[in-house]
């Protein structure tokens, strides 16, 4: 039988170390909502989402109460809208009507975000993909809860540089359209390479076409728990360090597994995967950068950071894999800047720059995330940053992403406030040398040689 020390340990993780289940995300297939009639598409989408997800929030809340573990977000991911709207949408404006419908449905069921205003264009762009991409700035400006993502490359297909070039412009336009809110639209827009179909985390969540009609995916978190556990092994060997991270990751993931099974049972929807990610929040003590410091760095960004992060990411996976029956999504350590107080401190101290963050993305779970850059950064430069990240993902067979926010009217040294879990960020300098001749070449970068495994 459970003893008092085990009970105290679990409750301490929740009360003092910010253990939580970051999100229950319901993936919903919308392919059956497709039609040539736009009104019909909108109607079907609204009906399907509000029917399937009507009890999602209340179920999440009652599970949180019964088990005594906070479930911070309840979210929905949907089939990439470029597929669902392909037959009906003839202009970007048509896609915006779908965005508004999704936003209305998300408000109706009470979720925090809905992700999947997306296009998968890793090799080529269909007409409907391009229309959707061109509608993103307006869609982000006229909705509140929509997250958008565009997959521009993969290890199997190479990188679609036409899409990369276009996304540089779209990020800039989105920033301009939402400039009254400090270009907040860009915080909900991510450009991916090797995007997974079952990611429960925003902004890159969508419900892949290989998935069931509806599915429950859960994202666990708990950087604070890992940090506190590591405090007890200061100065110990790497073996002890790694064992401690693994054991802690196991415990955190077990909570996610329990919540996922329970949510799946109560909602009558199959369980998909657990995403074993360490996802920070701006709350003090809920930081991945703090773990890196606890491992032995003065600040995130110091020499040794990439190695420490590689170790952390790997041990989180190793500990978590056995704790869950199905693992998927991104699974690793997130390194968003604005959402992590330790990262913000590192930037302010001058320890962390975009180039170092880029190196860190080779070994973390995703990519350049929630980085505020000067509003006058050129679209070609943003495309260059996207191309670099996509190349890292393509060659290393991992998911990478870029979520940068060119904050209109602000420059290096100023701060931007996004609010809530999105946090706040100091604006970071970007390399000023030009890459437009590279970015303006047409076509795509071929898939790397090691992708030919057949």
């Amino acid at each position: 039988m459970i003893n008092i020390f085990e009970v105290t340990e679990t409750n301490k993780m929740v009360e003092k170390e910010n253990l939580d289940v970051r999100t229950i995300t319901m993936g919903i297939n919308l392919l059956d909502c497709a039609s040539e009639n736009l009104d019909e598409v909108n109607e079907k989408i609204y009906k399907k989402i509000t029917t399937l997800a009507k009890d999602l929030v209340s179920t999440g809340e009652s599970i949180a109460k019964e088990f005594g573990v906070p479930i911070v977000n309840k979210r929905i991911s949907i089939t990439p809208i470029s597929l669902v709207g392909a037959a009906a949408c003839k202009t970007p404006q048509d896609y915006v009507t779908i965005a508004k419908t999704l936003d209305k449905a998300a408000h109706e069921v009470g979720v925090n975000f809905i992700g999947g205003y997306s296009a998968i264009v890793s090799k080529g762009m269909t007409r409907s993909d391009e229309l959707l991409i061109r509608s993103i700035p307006e869609a982000m400006a006229s909705t509140e809860l929509i997250c958008s993502s565009v997959n521009v490359g993969s290890t199997k297909t190479g990188i679609n540089m036409d899409a990369v070039r276009l996304m540089g412009q779209i990020v800039k336009e989105t920033a301009e359209k939402t400039k009254d809110a400090d270009s907040l639209g860009c915080a909900k827009l991510v450009v991916l390479c090797n995007a997974p179909d079952d990611n429960p985390f925003m902004a890159g969540a969508f419900h892949g076409v290989s998935e069931d009609d509806a599915i429950i995916n859960v994202g666990v978190s708990g950087p604070g728990v890992v940090k506190y556990a590591l405090e007890s092994v200061r100065g110990e060997s790497f073996e002890v360090l790694c064992e401690t991270i693994k054991k802690t990751a196991f415990k955190i993931t077990r909570v996610g597994q329990l919540v996922a099974q329970e949510a799946s049972k109560r909602l009558g929807i199959p369980f998909g995967i657990i995403d074993l990610s360490l996802a920070p929040t701006p709350a003090i003590g809920d930081s991945v950068a703090d773990i890196l410091e606890e491992i032995g760095l003065e600040h995130a960004g110091a020499p040794g950071t990439t190695a420490a992060l590689a170790l952390l990411n790997d041990q989180v996976k190793k500990g978590g894999v056995m704790a869950s029956s199905y693992v998927g999504g991104l699974s690793g350590a997130f390194i968003p800047v604005s959402e992590d107080q330790g990262m913000i401190n590192a930037v302010n101290a001058g320890a962390l720059c975009i180039e170092k963050l880029e190196a860190m993305t080779c070994v973390c779970s995703v990519g350049l995330d929630m980085i505020a850059i000067p509003g006058d950064t050129k679209a070609e430069t943003i495309s260059g940053i996207i191309a670099d990240e996509a190349a890292i993902g393509m060659v290393n067979q991992k998911t990478t992403a870029v979520r940068v926010i060119p904050v209109v009217g602000k420059g290096v040294g100023e701060t931007v406030e996004f609010g809530g879990l999105l946090g706040y960020a100091p604006i970071m300098p970007v390399n000023q040398f030009d890459c437009s001749a590279f970015v303006n070449r047409k076509g795509r970068i071929p898939a790397p040689i090691h992708s030919f495994k057949n």
Binding site: N3, E9, S62, V255
Partner: protein
């Protein structure tokens, strides 16, 4: 059987166990196990209880115990046992 873990943490005072136990008795909640320690004046108790046939819905029991804790000046939490089992047992 639906097992739950009730934890009571706070400054020690007269009648904590009595008040919690009479609430449980009044609501048909059977106590299976109790362990308790006092660390530097702080009362720390864990009970494993059977909630198969409580007189009230589970949500109400959680809120009642929370309010009772406020009254006595301690923190009372009631959680399903599975969360501890999952985390500490393979």
């Amino acid at each position: 059987m639906k097992k739950c873990v009730i934890t009571v943490v706070g400054k020690d005072t007269v009648g904590i166990i009595a008040k919690v136990c009479s609430y449980l008795a009044d609501n048909r909640i059977n106590i299976l196990d109790i362990s308790q320690t006092i660390v530097s004046g702080y009362f720390n108790m864990m009970m494993i209880v059977d909630m198969s046939q409580p007189a009230k819905p589970y949500d109400d029991v959680i809120s009642d115990l929370d309010n009772l804790g406020d009254e006595i000046g301690v923190a009372i939490k009631c959680q399903r046992e599975e969360i501890f089992d999952m985390m500490h047992r393979i």
